[in-house]
């Protein structure tokens, strides 16, 4: 493990999050933005119909089957900017669960208040959120309570005013910023009254435990997974 990753691991264990500025940049970022915008636009009318039918949430939507839409989304999963760190904090036993290519319209209220995703009885659960557009303060930026991932942390309450959560930290950032966080920890999306939607790709991982991902769950992208490491990451078998 490099010294850089060692220091990252220390912060990870203490705070429960890491920020990777400019994780995606240049032409790769531009390609991600083009793919995201194209497919979000393509999927929007179907989402609006599902909202009207009461089948979908009106306060955000995801591009369905995003890995099948463009390889750029698959490449985010093991991106060299953060994947070595992901492996380090999972002792090399990381598996990928699912993606969320998410657009969150501006709204006076957050679409997601303070919460942890899983209890400590659950295998280590990690998310990496990659901002696709610039996410300024009060634009629905990610927020986290440092240290809240620890088993003896808290208790925390579901304060309705997000800014009332003690010791929280918000994470505005430029397009291409990646934020990796331990999902035992309390997190939220801050309010976004600005009029600018937040676009991000949220990648969900776990530390390996047997049979967590059904065999073939990611079979549709098997053609992108030609190395043993990728096949393990996507639970495609050897």
């Amino acid at each position: 493990m490099s010294k850089s990753i060692e220091s990252q691991r220390t912060q990870w264990e203490e705070d429960g999050y890491l920020v990777f500025d400019n994780a995606i940049q240049g032409e790769e970022l531009a390609r991600l933005q083009r793919a995201f915008d194209y497919w979000a636009d393509q999927c929007k009318s179907d989402w609006l119909m599902r909202v009207e039918a009461g089948e979908a949430v009106s306060t955000f939507y995801d591009i369905p089957g995003v890995f099948e839409k463009d390889e750029i989304f698959v490449d985010l999963v093991d991106h060299p900017s953060y994947y070595p760190t992901l492996k380090a904090v999972t002792d090399g036993e990381v598996i990928f669960m699912s993606p969320q290519a998410r657009t969150v319209p501006a709204w006076p209220v957050t679409y997601s208040g303070w919460h942890p995703d899983v209890p400590h009885t659950h295998p280590l659960h990690i998310k990496v959120q990659v901002y696709v557009n610039d996410v300024d303060p009060r634009c629905g930026e990610f927020a986290f309570v440092p240290g809240s991932h620890k088993p003896d942390a808290g208790p925390y309450s579901k304060v309705n005013r997000l800014e009332s959560m003690p010791s929280h930290k918000t994470f505005p950032g430029g397009a291409g910023t990646a934020i990796m966080f331990n999902s035992y920890g309390w997190h939220a999306a801050m309010d976004n009254p600005t009029g600018t939607p937040r676009k991000s790709v949220i990648l969900i991982y776990e530390k390996y435990t047997p049979n967590r991902v059904p065999s073939g769950a990611h079979a549709s992208i098997a053609h992108y997974c030609t190395t043993p490491e990728r096949r393990r990451l996507f639970s495609l078998g050897e």
């Binding site: 039918a53 009461g54 009106s58 957050t110």
Partner: protein, 296 residues
């Protein structure tokens, strides 16, 4: 602590004295007399209730509701209805509320942009003038918004922070085409178990003038009473709103035969068994007494 049923319906068979509209849910031969409700309330020690208009939005359709409020002023307050796109709502609202016991209006539609990415100006909502007049006069809004309108609600809450809002039926915002009538003649609303309300009406708890009603379980559940598949919804709502913002309601008469009024009175203990006595008292009447401002 009073026991208050915060949302019920009573209606007569249509007549010259009590005209009303009919539909598949409330056909002409069906009636839900206020005396039946009073018998249930007395049998189960419910002190008061909120009568919610059913059977039409025009003033004349409110005749039976007004009759009940006049006959039993110590037991009931009323919620009227109004066409959401009425051009001049003030005369309609003021006439219905003038010393009648009607204290607010139920809305099903807001009438703003369907697209959550659209630029929002609440003054362009079709129902804006109703909200504006309610805020000016102190009338409350009882809201059973449709899914297409769910994202519009907080813009109105921002515009009218003084307005009292009761969000009906667990915050569910029914989808287009998802209403039906079940084999027992009750409303049924097809609703995903991962309820979109988690990210819309349940997020409105930050607005302290918003209350949420724990009711309508029979319409959303895939199970028989006590509708345990909705336990998670109740826990989620309780965790966000807290008992001081929640109000139990039976939705009489739809529950009179199945599961029965007495069973419905116990549903909060079934689905939120760990409440303190104070929390239980709030949900069963304390919150409603404060919100609806019943006279002592």
């Amino acid at each position: 602590m009073p026991r208050i049923d915060s949302h019920v319906h009573v209606f007569a068979k249509p007549s010259a004295e009590f005209p009303r509209e009919t539909d598949a849910l409330a056909p002409a031969e069906l009636e839900a007399p206020v005396e039946n409700l009073l018998a249930e309330m007395d049998a189960h020690r419910i002190d008061r209730a909120i009568l919610v208009q059913l059977g039409g939005e025009e003033i004349e359709h409110h005749a039976y509701l007004l009759h009940c409020l006049k006959t039993y002023p110590d037991r009931f307050l009323g919620i009227g209805t109004i066409p959401a796109d009425i051009s001049d709502p003030a005369p309609h609202m003021d006439k219905l509320c003038q010393e009648t016991g009607i204290i607010g209006f139920r809305l099903f539609s807001i009438g703003g942009p369907k697209d959550p990415f659209a630029q929002i100006d609440v003054r362009n909502f079709k129902s804006y003038r109703i909200w504006e007049h309610a805020a000016a006069q102190g009338y409350l809004i009882s809201l059973y918004a449709r899914a297409v309108d769910a994202h519009l609600i907080p813009y109105l809450l921002e515009a009218f922070p003084q307005l009292r809002i009761a969000i009906n039926h667990l915050g569910v915002c029914p989808g287009k085409g998802k209403f039906s009538i079940d084999a027992k003649g009750r409303p049924h609303v097809e609703t995903p178990m991962y309820n979109p309300a988690f990210h819309s009406t349940h997020r409105l708890a930050r607005y302290e003038n918003v209350m949420l009603q724990l009711s309508g379980q029979y319409a959303f559940s895939a199970e028989a009473y006590p509708y345990r598949d909705l336990t998670g919804w109740h826990q989620h709502i309780m965790g966000i709103y807290g008992a001081a913002r929640l109000m139990w309601a039976s939705d009489f008469p739809w529950i009179q035969k199945d599961p029965g009024y007495g069973q419905l009175k116990n549903i909060i203990k079934e689905l939120l068994p760990n409440l303190s006595d104070d929390e239980y008292d709030d949900i069963m009447g304390g919150t409603a007494a404060r919100f609806f401002q019943f006279a002592d």
